[in-house]
Amino acid sequence: MSEPLLVLDGVTKRFARPLNTGERIASWIGAGPGPRVVRAVEQVSLTIAPHETLALVGESGCGKSTLGRVAAGIYAPDQGRVTLAGAPVMSTGRRPHKITTRVQTVFQDPFASLDPRMRVGTTIAEGPIAHNLVERADSTRYVASWLERVGLPADVATRFPHQFSGGQRQRIAIARALAMQPDLLICDEPVASLDVSIQAQVLNLLLELRRDLGLTCLFISHDLGVVRHVSDRVAIMYLGRVVELGTTAETFARPIHPYTRALLDSVPRLARDGARGREIKPIAGELPSPLAPPPGCHFNPRCVHAIDRCRSEAPELLPVAGRIAACHRAEELLATV
């Protein structure tokens, strides 16, 4: 295997919810709760090889978006390191900021990710101009070439975001990211807010651009159908931890971790014969609060295979049959697939 492009090494990201006035008074007199800390991402290590697409999958609160933002250089990790081709993504120090231009992000909501008061052309051009990827005098042509690349006419550049539909805006956001000539493209739920018929257009565009430009992708999604379609490898996350990591084909065909299995079973699949025969088998229970995750394996309260050890000891991510999974009973369970 070639040198990885992106390395996430032991990344932890916490968010502290500040106490409100009442709680602060309560904690002064010793009755209140301590500061509430959410471990959005806990000790996650991942690598992405050049030209590979890794998908991060999980439900809300699993930390996939936070991890994506750490990789994108938007959040600085509290622990751990993020490097791109050996160089750090963010500076260190009191106010860390992103120092590489080789990672770019496409955000979920194209209605929020484009500055409503800036012309589309200016939005696309400002990054490349600021980083000397293009001369200001050439920027119009440069922007036009990227707009064409994402299937939009050049005159789009002089208009404002509100004049476009969701699908067109997402194309503009993709053009903005690609105009920075990144090696790694982070796609944070890029099609989740689009209509079904538009989703396919944008997914096809992303696949085409990935191939033509030789991009490496970190693809964040809750939609297992989309993930299966676009990714080479997949990392399943649950409450801030990666619970399973492997090639997409194998993971979908023979999931190891009970959560992965349950997640795959939960997805309603199109029953075209109308039999509705494949009954959905929902996971019991709710997602626990990330403020107070259960001890041991975070999934143990909902897991049908949980044993005493799962309730006390957090499983490590260990290799199992060419993949890695964090489950005490991985070997046993693999035999039952």
């Binding site: 933002r69 992000t105 909501d109 600021a130 208009r159």
Partner: protein
């Protein structure tokens, strides 16, 4: 609906007749005050032009200088129309200047404290809150009394009394904007923080600030008039509208109504017109009032 946001904005503004008339009044006033030296018959600040023989004459009186005093004369024998136009010039000039300085200073305080955060934000915003809990007139009165008369002193008093409104608004808007995706997108490009603030956050904070600005210009004018009326404003040799009203006040009961009433009417018309424009701007910029 294609077009720039400004073109769309104007198209919507035009639909409200009252606001258009009010805007015309404001613009005409501005033009008239700019062209004051050629428009009015007399320079009211040149004491050599004044003679007490013309003092307190009613509207329509033909004075010693040979022209008709359309609105009469004041206690010093000034042509009242000239004095009002020049007074408006001072009022508008002070109001707009104070408004602009308060805008720039307040918006900077608000936006920067929102972006810097931490203790600086807390301290700056608590000072602003403290100040907002007093009526602006109180602070302006105290400052004007302490600093004394003069244009600079008055400007300081007006700005100090009003920047807090801008700071509060800018802080709220900037805090809301900086967590939006487009700011994150710009920061993750990466663009320098300064560029992100100036090119993305500030333009998106402008709508609420513009609303505050129109209201505050009107308030500045009223505040200046109040201070001048109380004798704390500009020197009496250059009477602003407030001082004209104050000067005429003692003659009101003796039937010489014009010395107070006409400057008063001019002041009210100007303030109401600015507020009507401001209302329409607010309605258009506030998404919650939209259908």
């Amino acid at each position: 609906m294609a077009g720039t946001p400004i073109a769309d904005f104007w198209a919507e503004f035009r639909a409200n007749r009252v606001a258009v008339v009010a805007l015309a009044v404001v613009l005409l006033t501005v033009l008239a005050t700019l062209a004051a030296p050629i428009l009015v018959p007399q320079d009211p600040y040149d004491l050599a032009n004044l003679t007490l023989r013309d003092a307190r004459r009613p509207p329509g009186y033909v004075g010693t200088a040979g022209f008709t005093h359309v609105l009469g004369t004041d206690a010093q024998g000034r042509d009242l129309l000239s004095a009002i136009v020049y007074g408006l010039r001072i009022s508008l000039g002070m109001g707009i200047t104070a408004g602009c300085i308060a805008f720039a200073f307040g918006a900077t305080v608000g936006a920067v404290s929102s972006f810097v955060g931490g203790r600086i934000e807390t301290i700056a915003m608590r000072i602003v809150d403290l100040q907002l809990s007093f009526p602006a007139i109180l602070l302006a009165l105290v400052l004007a009394a302490v600093l004394g008369q003069g244009k600079t002193q008055l400007l300081i008093a007006l700005v100090a009394a009003q920047y807090a409104y801008f700071a509060r608004t800018a802080h709220g808007a900037a805090t809301a904007e900086r967590h939006k995706d487009y700011v994150e997108a710009a920061l993750s490009t990466p663009l320098p923080a300064r560029t992100v603030i100036l090119r993305h956050i500030v333009p998106n904070c402008l709508p609420p600030l513009i609303v505050v600005a129109t209201v505050q210009v009107a308030n500045s004018i009223a505040l200046e008039a109040t201070l001048s009326f109380l004798g704390l404003g500009l020197p009496p040799t250059e009477p602003s509208l407030g001082m004209l009203i104050a000067n005429g006040f003692q003659y009101l009961l003796s039937g010489r109504y014009w010395i107070s009433i006409y400057p008063g009417v001019a002041l009210i018309v100007l303030i109401v017109a600015i507020n009507l424009v401001g209302d329409q701007v607010r309605d258009q910029l506030n998404p919650r009032l939209r259908r």
